[in-house]
Symmetry: C2
Subunit: 630 residues, 2 copies
C-alpha cells in the first residue's frame, strides 16, 4: 500500500473512470489506495490482502503484469482485458487510466440516524460566558487572566492553556474588555470579542465500523441543528474489525492510514452539517464519540494489536478527553473531543451509549438490550446486576457472506411476505439488486412457517412440503445438489440474474442467530433469570430498527417472549453520545454504567458452548400468536 507522505518517489497520474477524477500517487502505491485518496472508495472485504478477489478494476491504459494472487483469482479473459485487483495492481509509469466497475464500488448504505433521546437538563462541558471585564487601573493591577476569571465567577480552579494566554491581553484590549469567555470544564479555552454566547455547538458522533453518524447540537438550547452520515472509509481497508486490526498491525503506516480515514469521515460530516446549518465549524467546541473499542482505538491512533489476539484486551477503557488537533478533528482547536468509556475489547462505548439512553435507571425490571452489527453486543440487567457480552455474529445480518446479500442500500430487498406467491419490497422501490438483513430474516422466517426449512436448517425438497401454493413451490430450485429458493426471477432483477436464498445462506443465518441467542441464554443463566423473566428487550442499531419482530422471533434470534415486550430503540448508541454532549451528569453516569457492567467473556463459558449447539436449531413453531400468523 502507499506510504502516506512519501516525497521521495516520483508520482504517477491516475485518471479514475467513470468519475473522471485524477489523482497523483507515488510509484508503487496500490490502485485501491489511489481510489480512496481520490474519494472513489472501493469495497475491499479482505482488507487488501489479495484474498477475496472482490476489488476488481479495469486498467484501460498502463496495466502491468498480474501477480500470483491476480492469476489465481482472475480469469484469463479478465486479465487480457486489463482487469486487475485494486489491492494488488500498483501505480507505474507516468499515467494510468483505471475504470472502477459498479460492483467494486463502496455503496452508500441506508443509514439509521434517528435515535430516541430522553429529556435531560442541559449542563454541557462547554460554557460561554459574556463578560464586561473591568479594565486595569493603577488601583487594580490584577493580571488579565485573573481579572477575566473573576468576572466569570470562576476564580480559583481554572487552569489556563498556554495557547490561549499568548494573546489574551491583546484580545481583551482590542475588544474594550467586552468579551465572551469559553470555558471547557475548568479550562479557559478561548476568548472571543463581544457577546457570542449563542454561537455554541457540539457534535455527537456514532463511529460505527460500517457507518458513521454525526448530530450537530446547539448547546444552550439542546436543539438538534443537523444530522449527517457517511460510510466509514476504513471499509476500504477491511470490512470487519479483524481485517482492520491486521491492516493496522501489519501494514507499514497502516495504523496512521486507518486513523486518518476515520477522522476524515468525522470531518466530512462536520463540514456537511455545519454548512447546512450555516454555522462555522469553529463554533463547534466539543465532540463526543461512541464506537466499539476497536473503532475508538483506531480513531485515537492507539495500536489495536492486543484486540486481535486472545485474551483481546484493550489498551484503555476509561473515557478520554483529547485536544481535537491531536487527532486532526476540525472543530474549534481549543475545544475538546470526549471519547466515551469502553468496557472490554469487544464491548465498546456504543453499548454504553445504548444503556445510557435506554437502561440508565434501575427500575427493578429485568431488561435486555441488544445491538446487532457484525458483532452482537448486549447487556442484561436482572436484580441490580448488569452483565454484558459480545458475540461474533458474522456479517450475515449485514448482507455479507450471503450469496445474494447486500447492505441496506437502494435496491435491497428489505421485506418479504408470502401469500399466494412471494411478495417483496425494496429500499426506495428500486429494481431489486440483492437482499439485506431484514429481508433475509423475513424470507427465512416465512420459509420456516411453510415448512420449507426444517428445524435443523435443512431445506426440504418441494415434494416434501405440504399445503403450499405452487407458485411458491416452483421457486425451489436445485443445482449441483444444492437447493435454493428464488425471491425474484432474473427478469425482475436489476442484476439480470435471480435473487435467491441458498442452503448455505440458511446455514450462515443459523450460525449468526445461534451465536446471538446463545449469548442471551448465557447472560440469563449467569444472572439466574429465565427468558420468561424478561420484562423488556430493546433492539438497537440499524438492524434492530429495521427487522420485523415476528421474523426475529420465528427464526429464534431472541428468546420467545410476547412481541409487545420487544422495542426498537433506534440508534441508541448515537443518542448516548448526544446525552453525554448535553450534560456532564450524563457523562458521569456513562462512566458509572461502564464501571458497573460485568463483562462476560463467552469463550470462557461452557454454558455458551452448550447454548450455541442448542440455538443452532430453528424453533419448531411460532411461540406466540403474532400478526404475521393471520
Amino acid at each position: 500500500m502507499a506510504t502516506q507522505g512519501d516525497h521521495t518517489k516520483p508520482l504517477v497520474e491516475i485518471q479514475l473512470l467513470p468519475d473522471n477524477v485524477t489523482v497523483n500517487v507515488p510509484v508503487g502505491a496500490c490502485i485501491a489506495d489511489a481510489a480512496t485518496a481520490a474519494g472513489c472508495a472501493l469495497e475491499t472485504p479482505c482488507g487488501g490482502l489479495g484474498v477475496c478477489g472482490k476489488c476488481k478494476v479495469r486498467i484501460i491504459s498502463g496495466a502491468g503484469h498480474p501477480d500470483k494472487d491476480e492469476l489465481r483469482l482472475l480469469s484469463k479473459d479478465e486479465i487480457n482485458q486489463g482487469t486487475r485487483l485494486a489491492c494488488k495492481a500498483r501505480a507505474s509509469g507516468n499515467r494510468m487510466v483505471v475504470e472502477i466497475p459498479a460492483e467494486s464500488r463502496s455503496l452508500v448504505q441506508q443509514i439509521l440516524s434517528a435515535g430516541v433521546l430522553r429529556h435531560v437538563e442541559p449542563r454541557p462541558n462547554v460554557l460561554k460566558i459574556h463578560a464586561r471585564v473591568h479594565p486595569p487601573t493603577l488601583q487594580d493591577e490584577r493580571a488579565e487572566y485573573e481579572r477575566l476569571m473573576l468576572e466569570c465567577d470562576h476564580s480559583s480552579n481554572t487552569t489556563p492553556s498556554l495557547d490561549m494566554l499568548t494573546d489574551l491581553s491583546a484580545k481583551l484590549r482590542s475588544s474594550d474588555y467586552d468579551v465572551t469567555a469559553i470555558l471547557m470544564g475548568d479550562r479557559l479555552a478561548d476568548v472571543e470579542p463581544g457577546d457570542t454566547t449563542d454561537h455554541c455547538y457540539g457534535i455527537a458522533y456514532d463511529l460505527g465500523s460500517t457507518t458513521i453518524v454525526g448530530y450537530l447540537v446547539h448547546l444552550p438550547t439542546a436543539r438538534e441543528a443537523g444530522v449527517a452520515a457517511t460510510m466509514n472509509p476504513q471499509m476500504t481497508y477491511g470490512d470487519d474489525l479483524v481485517s482492520r486490526i491486521r491492516f493496522a498491525s501489519e501494514k507499514p503506516d497502516g495504523r496512521t492510514i486507518l486513523q486518518q480515514a476515520a477522522v476524515r469521515a468525522l470531518n466530512e460530516i462536520l463540514a456537511r452539517v455545519t454548512q447546512k446549518a450555516k454555522v462555522s465549524p469553529l463554533s463547534v467546541y466539543e465532540a463526543t464519540v461512541v464506537g466499539n473499542t476497536c473503532m475508538t482505538h483506531l480513531l485515537l491512533g492507539i495500536d489495536p494489536s492486543s484486540l486481535g489476539v486472545s485474551p483481546y484486551v484493550p489498551t484503555v477503557c476509561r473515557a478520554l478527553d483529547v485536544p481535537p488537533g491531536e487527532i486532526g478533528l476540525r472543530i474549534n482547536p481549543r475545544g475538546n473531543a470526549h471519547i466515551m468509556p469502553n468496557v472490554a475489547g469487544f464491548v465498546g462505548s456504543d453499548l454504553v451509549g445504548v444503556l445510557l439512553t435506554s437502561m440508565w435507571e434501575d427500575d427493578g425490571r429485568t431488561r435486555l438490550a441488544v445491538d446487532i452489527g457484525t458483532n452482537g453486543e448486549m447487556a442484561l440487567r436482572h436484580k441490580g446486576k448488569t452483565l454484558a457480552c459480545s458475540a461474533a455474529a458474522g456479517p450475515a445480518f449485514e448482507g455479507a457472506g450471503i450469496s445474494c446479500g447486500m447492505r441496506g442500500s437502494p435496491g435491497a430487498i428489505d421485506s418479504v411476505r408470502m401469500d399466494d406467491d412471494v411478495q417483496i419490497s425494496t429500499i426506495r422501490n428500486q429494481k431489486p439488486k440483492g437482499v439485506c438483513g431484514s429481508g433475509l430474516l423475513d424470507a427465512i422466517a416465512w420459509m420456516l412457517r411453510i415448512g420449507m426449512i426444517e428445524e435443523t436448517g435443512r431445506m426440504a425438497a418441494p415434494e416434501d412440503i405440504g399445503d403450499v401454493p405452487l407458485a411458491i413451490k416452483n421457486r425451489i430450485l436445485e443445482d449441483d445438489g444444492q437447493r435454493r429458493f428464488v425471491l425474484t426471477w432474473a427478469d425482475e432483477s436489476a442484476t439480470g440474474t435471480p435473487i435467491s436464498i441458498t442452503q448455505r445462506d440458511v446455514r450462515q443465518v443459523q450460525l449468526a442467530k445461534g451465536s446471538i441467542h446463545a449469548a442471551i441464554r448465557t447472560l440469563l443463566a449467569l444472572s439466574g433469570a429465565r427468558s420468561e423473566d424478561l420484562d423488556e428487550v430493546l433492539l438497537a442499531g440499524a438492524f434492530g430498527n429495521y427487522i420485523r419482530v415476528e421474523s426475529a422471533l420465528r427464526i429464534g434470534l431472541i428468546p420467545a417472549i410476547p412481541p409487545n415486550r420487544i422495542k426498537s430503540v433506534g440508534n441508541a448508541a448515537g443518542s448516548g453520545a448526544r446525552l453525554a454532549l448535553l450534560s456532564l451528569d450524563e457523562r458521569k453516569r456513562a462512566a458509572e454504567i461502564a464501571a458497573r457492567l460485568e463483562h462476560i467473556e463467552l469463550a470462557n463459558h461452557e454454558t455458551y458452548q452448550r447454548a450455541f449447539e442448542e440455538q443452532m436449531l430453528f424453533p419448531e413453531s411460532e411461540m406466540e400468536p403474532t400478526a404475521a400468523q393471520k
Copy 2:
C-alpha cells in the same frame, strides 16, 4: 530583523571574524541577527532600534550603503573603512565577510550560581515506579492501562495522555510486562522497559534578564548533579526589559525571536549539564523556572505588551504547567515545565523564589529581602504581613550607563580600597578593563569617606579636600568642567585609557541607590515599621552577593542597621526553583507566598516620591562602626 524560517528568499553566506564562523541567512536579514544565529552575540543596548550606535561591526567585503541612522551615528572615516551598525546593515549579495570588534561583543559575565538551599523532604512531581505487571489472561481482561495503574497503586485518579497510550500495549508486551511507569502528578507520562527508577532528573532554572543558571538535580536523592550558566541571548535584542518588550511588540516576529532565544539558552544549559553528568536529556522529566514576570512571559511566548504600558499588568500570575514541547524545551517531551507564580508586572517569580528559600516561615521577626538587578525587587515582612514592590534602579549597578562601567566579567575592577593610594582588584586578576557594580560601590563609598564626594553628590575640588594622601588627590582630574576620579591610569589598563569615575557616574549611582532605599523606606512606612525594627536584611542575587556590606551602608543603599543583621543569600531565586523541583509541598508553599504578598505600586505613593528626594542624598557619615573604618 530576519524573519525566522523564511524559505522564500535567497540566502547570503556570512563569514564572521575573528571567530571564523560561517552562517547562511536570508537576503535582508540584519547582521546582528546573523551574528546571533552564528552564536557570536553582539551588545545591542537599544534593542536594535538604531539609536545607541553601540553595535559597530566592520564589513570587510560586501558592505552596502549606510542608512540615515548610520550616517548620523558613525564618522566618515568609519563608514569609509566599512564600519556599520549590526542592527542596521543587511545581508546582501552572495557572500559577506564581517568582523565583530571586541567592544561590540556580548561578554560572558561572572555568574552567581551557588545558592543556599534549605533542607526539604523530597516529594517531587515526577515519580518513577518499577512495576511487574500481571499479563492479561482470559480470567483477567482488564485494559493494559488499568492493569499498569493498579500495579502502581494509582488506580482511579490518573489521566492518561493520548501520546503515551498509542503504543502502551506494545511497550508492555515487548518488555514482558516488566516496566517503569513515569507519573507526573496524576498523569501517566510514559513507560520504560525494565527498572529505570534511578534515571530520574529534574532541572531548575533561574531565568534572569542578563544571565540564566540551570541546576541539574537527581530527584530520588535530591543530589545536585550539575550546574551551568549562560548569558541570556535576548541581550542581543535589548539590554533592559523595556527594550525587549518594545522589540517583542513592535518587530515582526519579535515575540517569537525572543521566545526562541530564551529557550535556546535553556536547552544549551540542559545539554551542557547533562553531558557533563553523563545523563540523557530524556532522563530529565521536569523543569522548574523562576524569573521576572517579563522573562517568564517571553519564555512562554505570551505577549508582554501590557507590561510596557501603565498600569503594567501581566497576562497571568499563577503558576503554569506546560508540555516542554510547547515551548521547545528539550527535556523528556512527556515531562513537564513548571513556571513558578508571579506577583505583579514587575514583581516576578524570582522574588517568590527568594522568599521561598529564605523567608518561607513567619518567625515573628521583621525581615527584608532585596534582590537587586536592573530592577530592585524586594519584600518586607512585619507583624504577619508581607509587602512587596519593585523599584527601577537603572542599570548602574550592573555597570551599564557608567562611563567606564562593565559587567562583572574578567578584567572588571570588582573591589576598591584606599590607603596611601587607591588599591584595586579585578576579576580573575586580569588587566583592568572597566569597573563593575561592586567596584563602583566601593569607589564611591571611599570617595565619600575621604570627603571627595559631598552629601549632595557633588565631587569636591582637590583643594577643598582635607587630609588625604597626595597620590589620591592627584587622581582628581577636571576636563571640560567635569571632574573625574582615576582608578587606574592609562598604562595600567587593558584598554590603554584611564579608568575613572565621573561626576555623571556618581549621579547615576545616586539615582539608583536613592530609588532602592526609597522603596525600602516606603515598605517600612506602609508596614508601620521603622528601620531599627529590621531584624534581618537579606541581599539576594549576584549584586547582593558580591557587594561589600560596608560600602552599601556607606553610600546609603540600605537603611543604617548593624552590619551583622545583613546577610547575603546568594542566588536565592534559583534555590527557590530547586525547592519547587524537589517537592510539591514547596510548590504549594510558593503559590501561597505569591498569593499572600501584597504588591505596592510605588508610582501610586507620595511616600515613595518624598523618600526618593531624601534618599538621593548620601549619608553624612558612617552610621555604624564597621571594619572598613579601622
